[in-house]
Amino acid sequence: MVEVGSPLLEVENIEKRFGGVRALRGVSLSIAEGETVALVGDNGAGKSTLVKAVAGVQPADSGTIRLRGREVAIRSAKDAGALGVEVLYQDLALANTLDVAANVFLGDEPLRLKLGWFSVPDTRRMDAETAATLDRLRIDIPDPKRPVANLSGGQRQAVAIGRTIHRGRRELLILDEPTAALGVEEVRKVLALIKSLRDDGQTMIIVSHDLEHVFQVSDRIAVMRQGRVQAVVRTGEVTKTDIVRLIVGDIEDAVA
């Protein structure tokens, strides 16, 4: 197990309503630095809503979020980004018709000639740095000069993760269903990539339906049910059956 530090992210009493529906009913969760926490729960349990609140996409109605002990206001995705909180969504936010390096550097290109919008990017440097990043993450892409639309799902996921990593260590990386819709071999590679991020000390929240994957990569598992965090358990101390029972509500367990 990875050595775990002081709390990096603490959310307390997060509430979120959509009309008459209380999507989040006072959610509290604490994540330590360097820790990988899996967020599981049935559809509609509030996983995505919680992630969107932390990511600023749909800010919470009330409650507090603290980063490294300091209370922060996350009102937009830009706020979250500025604080070093980054979400990798299931739909892989890649520009399909651009190549790998263009995607890795999108919006953050090194320049050969600085002219505002009409600056000329240094493509040679981008290609070299991209190759180095892919190498370091052990991602194999035979032809990185082709549009990413031509890549497999796993390669695309890897490029999306590579892009995030390349821009420097994030305080908190949130992966939304990182293994959904991937083939067996691709799942293996993406999980290996997540593990290597964990070994590098990256703090992560992983939202997943797949308990097998959750057990492979997480330090702790937070189970959500009906807009609340039902239980938080150490991955090594429970079985999948325990988690399933928590998800469906067989056990009304307290926070461990």
Partner: protein, 332 residues
């Protein structure tokens, strides 16, 4: 995503020879069409088509379409479209033309003021599309009608004539046998190629057209960049208006009517995706030439204006249908 055919496709492309690489070029179809049509018109007209003079005539007629095609390519790359180009030309002609005729402004301001008026008209499109969120097709359909209405209201049946030499030169003068309008158009196309393929701007409009939320998630200012493509298109409509005014030595309420069809057809035929994310300036250049050649050849073979319209309209449909077909069968 887990398409079992994709590794094979990689292999084909990766190991492909020159011919396969040529097949993959977005403007491959239009290049083939040009070669075939060129041969057909040469055969039918018995060589009057295939002369230097006639080729210059084609280019002179197509210069306006190329100037506008550059802006249209940018707008289309973001997933947008501008169908108000012809109407913007009308407004520029009316304001700048009458300003010159009535002596409101010195001829030296003719060129900058045409570009400025065009840019303002384009900025209005950009505002409606990005700030108000009106879909590009409808936003520019609105100004297509409104700008033309303004021109007709303002000009009535009057004709602006006796334009200053500088404007007439833009439309008529030649350098080493090449019309200045053609040189200007080619220079704009070259600049457009550079911007599209070598600058951040080209990358960003491609990213916006490819996946707006991906672009939004970066530091790219999606709204400002998207709006700017319409400003550029407007400024280029100003340049195109100068060329048309100069060529005719006049401006009327009908100036620029119908050019938008030629421009959109040329850009789409050239291989730029109507849905954004993929574009080619070389394709636009070839598409413009194809349209110019088609019109010229049709006139020479005796087909009238109405037949040309029928063919032009059907060509747009065919080009889009072909793109949809390719999109379904291939990636990107």
């Amino acid at each position: 995503m887990n398409d079992p055919a994709s590794p094979a496709r990689n292999r084909i492309h990766g190991a492909g020879g020159a011919f396969e690489r040529a097949l993959g070029l977005p403007f491959f179809n239009v290049a083939v069409a040009i070669v075939i049509l060129y041969a057909v018109f040469t055969a039918i007209t018995g060589e009057t088509f295939n002369t230097v003079n006639n080729q210059i005539t084609i280019m002179r007629a197509a210069a306006v379409f190329l100037i506008l095609g550059v802006g249209q390519t940018f707008a289309m790359t973001t997933g947008g479209i501008d169908i108000s180009t012809g109407s913007m030309i009308g407004v520029v002609g009316a304001i700048v033309g009458s300003g010159l005729e009535l002596g409101w402004m010195d001829p030296i301001y003719a060129i900058p003021s045409a570009i400025l008026v065009g840019a303002v008209l384009g900025a209005f499109n950009g505002f409606n599309i990005t700030v108000l969120g009106v879909p590009p097709l409808l936003a520019t359909l609105g100004t297509f009608v409104a700008y033309r209405g303004f021109t007709q209201y303002y000009m009535g049946v009057n004709l602006v004539t006796g334009l200053p030499d500088v404007v007439v030169a833009v439309g008529r003068a030649t350098v080493l046998g090449l019309p200045i309008s053609v040189i200007v158009a080619l220079a704009i196309a070259a600049l457009g190629w550079f911007v599209l393929n070598r600058t951040l701007y080209g990358r960003y409009i491609t990213a916006i057209g490819s996946n707006p939320s991906a672009a939004e998630a970066t530091r790219i200012n999606v709204k400002a960049i998207t709006a700017s493509t319409y400003v550029i298109q407007g400024a280029l409509a100003g340049v195109a208006a100068l060329v048309l005014m100069g060529r005719l030595d006049s401006a009327s309420a009908a100036m620029g009517e119908g050019v938008e069809l030629h421009v959109i057809a040329a850009v789409v035929l050239g291989g730029t995706y109507l849905f954004g994310g993929r574009s080619t300036m070389i394709g636009t250049l070839l598409g413009v030439y194809l349209i110019g050649m088609l019109e010229n050849g049709l006139i020479q073979t005796g087909a009238g204006f109405f037949v040309q319209r029928i063919i032009l309209g059907l060509l747009i449909i065919a080009a889009v249908a072909l793109q949809l077909q390719q999109r379904r069968s291939g990636p990107g």
